[in-house]
């Protein structure tokens, strides 16, 4: 097991910033998912940890500095397993040759055991071109584990497989990571993938860390509107924060936030808004549909679409009144932009 300490990490592509400054501390044996929209710097962060992308700042793995202004440890010496988004398999090598090249000390017996663990038993002679999408991902995982790494980095590992296989591979990854006591860092823009594989979440936007914390905390008590929208599927209705003690929202006034230097939004988590005859806000029903957890309706709430439970009485085109369970929540819309402006 190995901890990852990142301090003041900055990465560039050409002359433009991609990542940072970024500080992160990931405990040994933790399972962390870095999530965020495309182009936010997730993969670059992973590549910096692996030593595949030059970064300014300090990176320490298990207390050992691998990246600082004076010392850069090459990728092969960091004992890191990496599963690339596109697999990065070597098309001219067989499955067995992948493992023997990745880890010269791995014996035939150990290689066969590893292949059996990832579900590739009997496929040692196949080449990547002969493997299915799921098998190719399993091979990428086996190759990453072959060198006995202390940290496993996964770049959208379930991106290219179908829904049924995602579940299987997710379970397999979790099992292997637990069995080997690895520190896992996963990069994805898929919330479900992140929640399935990780306990800790890091939300990244425009190269900056917006929020970190346990999955439960970030889901239930998001600290930014973006985090709430991205992670919990919240609907964000911009509100005006002026000098007053309270902020007016469609669901009533809320105390004004202390930090008024950036735009704020009323954050409505799924399930927080319910249809109620005496509700303070009027909304229009756009559509009704069935979902796994019961019937639902999509409503237009002042130009913002959101789902509410449907008890069977809602009809398309009708107007209903909605209310909020609990107190309204106003959160900053983009802390990274706020920091940049500061």
């Amino acid at each position: 097991m190995s901890s990852i300490e990142i301090q003041n990490l900055v990465a560039r592509h050409g002359s433009g910033f991609v990542l940072g400054p970024c500080d992160l501390s990931l405990a040994a044996g933790s399972r962390t998912a870095v999530i965020g929209p495309s182009g936010c710097g997730k993969t670059t962060l992973l590549r910096c940890i692996a030593g595949l992308h030059p970064g300014e700042g300090r990176i320490a793995l298990d207390g050992q500095l691998v990246n600082d202004p004076k010392r850069i440890v090459p990728p092969s010496a960091r004992r890191i397993g990496f599963v690339f988004q596109d697999g990065g398999l070597w098309p001219h090598l067989s499955v067995a040759e992948h493992l023997s090249f990745a880890s010269p000390g791995l014996g035939t017996q150990a290689a066969e055991e590893l292949l059996a663990q990832v579900g590739l038993a009997g496929r040692s002679r196949a080449r990547p071109g002969e493997l299915s999408g799921g098998e190719a991902q399993r091979l990428a995982l086996a190759r990453a584990l072959a060198g006995d790494p202390r940290i496993l980095l996964l770049d959208e590992p379930l991106h290219s497989v179908d829904t049924a296989l995602r579940g299987q591979l997710g379970v397999l990854i979790r099992k292997l990571v637990d069995a080997r006591g690895l520190t896992l860092v996963l990069v994805t823009h898929d919330r479900d993938e992140a929640l399935a594989l990780a306990d800790q979440l890091v939300i990244l936007k425009s190269g900056k860390v917006l929020e970190t914390g346990s999955a439960d905390t970030l889901l239930q008590q998001p600290r930014t509107a973006f985090g709430a929208a991205f992670l919990a599927g919240a609907t964000c209705v911009p509100v005006s924060v002026n000098g007053g003690a309270t902020v007016a929202t469609p669901f009533g006034p809320v105390p004004s936030p202390a930090d008024r230097s950036c735009p704020h939004a009323l954050v409505l988590l799924p399930g927080e808004v319910v249809v109620r005859g005496d509700g303070p806000v009027e909304a229009r029903v756009l559509s009704v549909f069935g979902a796994a957890d019961g019937a639902r309706a999509l409503i237009d709430l002042g130009g913002h679409a959101m789902q509410v439970p449907n008890d069977g009485t809602l009809r398309i085109g009708t107007t209903v009144r909605v209310a909020l369970r609990g107190a309204p929540r106003v959160l900053p819309m983009d802390r990274s932009e706020q920091e940049a402006n500061a």
Partner: protein, 536 residues
């Protein structure tokens, strides 16, 4: 140690490209009396210079149009239509590249004698060069057609109809076609062998490259600094034309993205024109390959011997004569071409890795040798490697390098280096970055990673580049004319046929050379089991 391959490649480029060009440029502005621009005062001053410039431009434009009609037409018909035999004819589009332009010219000259038409003058020269360099347009047009997403064409076809779809297709392929035309133009304007051949055979008719060479051969008669450097100064406008054409050709070539696999274009039905359409590929391949092969075969069979009937006995006799009289030349030519191919691969590889990575500008810099006419590069190599300074310092302990096939090999390698760099760079750019990065994470040495992962993935392009360079090395005349060891090459001997006769033995020799040019790539395909890709 990590930078050793690149350092060696850079050293090679300095010694066999940078130094010759720099020494020539230096000599034009520095005389014994110091800095002077006197030589440039005479630039295009003489009417003959201006005439040669006009001739060259007109020849370049006309030959390019012919190359476009033949090469572009061949690629379009074989890649885009349901013409019979299209699958077989398509790869043959590049085949005329194996025939030296001088051999094509000699073939048509002989045909002219037999059928009673004159092979001389501007139009014939343009036609011969157009045929010789049409493969460049054919290869680039085919590349463009392969890069078009068939769905994009079909989308326009469904919404707007056939004519707008064809117009859109033409717009999409236009950069590649234009790049092919510009490459053809570059080679035509720097060609001196065919114009010189036609001058010898017919009425006096000069082009710029040929004029530069003529000045070079006469320079010993000059006395002033301006006279001595006049061949170099005279080449400057030619250099500018080529540099501009190359710049645009590379910019246009860069437009095409071959990284992703796309659905191919649907083939158009030619209907009743399916059979008549065969005429264009047949004319193109007939002129580019058929005529030279038939004429060379006839020569080898004794067609030029008045007192002996043609037949296999003559062929055997001439092949034996070719072996006995020019066997050494044939061996030298093959060895030099093979060594050039290997050398180009070794030098191009570290450059290509950098060009595909952090220094993309290297890809553009690497085409400088194409921009410099071979005659000029040859002159530069003579100036550097035959200078008293180098002779006194180097040859005293290394032996005379100047007169050996070593300098010829290095000169060829310098000239054909762009083909290696471009082919390997493109191959590297098409590989996913993660393939190399995954290897970086393994507990292997850099050498093991290179030999086991990078090299095998690069070798299809490497074999392609080596085959191309090998074939070009077999047919290179311009450098062989200038460098002393070039006297021992087959192409040089064939060019002497123009001046001194001996067509029967020359025909047999040329056929053997062409056989080698075809056989070696075939063996490579059979042995490696791989298609030769990335040539374009």
């Amino acid at each position: 140690m990590r930078h050793l391959p690149l350092s060696l490649a850079a050293t090679f480029c300095v010694l066999f490209l940078g130094a010759p060009l720099l020494v020539m440029a230096w000599s034009t502005v520095f005389s014994e009396d110091g800095f002077t621009l006197q030589a440039y005062g005479q630039l295009l001053a003489e009417p003959i210079d201006r005439l040669q410039m006009r001739n060259t431009l007109a020849l370049g434009a006309t030959s390019t149009v012919i190359a476009l009609l033949l090469g572009g037409g061949h690629a379009f018909l074989t890649h885009r239509t349901d013409m019979p035999g299209a699958a077989w004819l398509a790869p043959l589009g590049a085949a005329p590249l194996a025939i030296p332009p001088i051999v094509v010219a000699m073939g048509f000259s002989d045909l002219g004698k037999t059928w009673g038409f004159s092979v001389s003058g501007f139009m014939i020269c343009a036609l011969l060069l157009g045929i010789s360099y049409a493969p460049l347009v054919a290869v680039m047009t085919a590349r463009g057609l392969r890069s078009v997403d068939g769905r994009a064409y079909e989308a326009v076809l469904l919404t707007r109809g056939r004519a707008p779809a064809e117009r859109m297709l033409l717009r999409m392929v236009r950069p590649e076609i234009a790049a092919g035309c510009l490459f053809a133009l570059v080679f035509v304007v720097s060609e001196h062998g065919v114009p010189e051949f036609l001058t010898v055979k017919g009425k006096t008719w000069h082009t710029y490259a040929e004029g530069v060479f003529a000045r070079w051969t006469r320079r010993a008669t000059g006395v002033s600094h301006a006279d001595l450097v006049s061949p170099i100064v005279a080449a400057v406008p030619l250099l500018l034309i080529i540099a501009v054409a190359l710049f645009f050709a590379l910019r246009l070539r860069a437009h095409t993205d071959l990284r992703s696999v796309r659905p191919p274009l649907p083939r158009r039905s030619l209907g009743r024109l399916r059979i008549p359409a065969l005429l264009l590929p047949l004319v193109y391949l007939g002129a580019g390959i058929g005529v030279p092969l038939v004429v060379l075969s006839r020569w080898a069979a004794g067609s030029t011997q008045v007192d002996t009937p043609m037949g296999f006995a003559q062929v055997r006799h001439n092949v034996q004569a070719a072996f006995s009289q020019a066997g050494t030349d044939l061996t030298t030519t093959i060895v030099v071409a093979a060594a050039t191919a290997v050398l180009v691969l070794l030098i191009a590889m570290p450059i290509a890795f950098r060009a595909a990575g952090r220094w993309p500008v290297l890809q553009h810099l690497s085409v400088v040798p194409i921009a410099v006419p071979a005659i000029l590069l040859g002159m530069g190599l003579v100036k550097v490697w035959n200078s008293p300074l180098v002779a006194d310092w180097l040859y005293s302990w290394s032996g005379d390098f100047y007169g050996t096939a070593g300098l010829l090999t290095c000169g060829y390698a310098a000239r054909f280096l762009p083909f290696g760099v471009l082919a390997l760079t493109q191959s590297l750019q098409r590989q996913a970055a993660s393939v190399g990065e995954a290897a970086q994470l393994s507990a292997r040495t850099p050498l093991a990673r290179f030999l086991r992962i990078r090299l095998p993935l690069l070798m299809p392009a490497g074999w392609s580049a080596m085959c191309l360079v090998f074939v070009l090395g077999l047919r290179e005349l311009d450098l062989a004319v200038v460098l002393p060891a070039g006297n021992e090459t087959v192409v040089r001997r064939l060019s002497n046929v123009v001046h001194f006769g001996g067509e029967d033995m020359g025909g047999a020799l040329a056929l053997m050379l062409l056989g080698v040019a075809v056989l070696v790539p075939l063996i490579v395909v059979l042995v490696t089991g791989r298609r030769l890709t990335s040539l374009s």
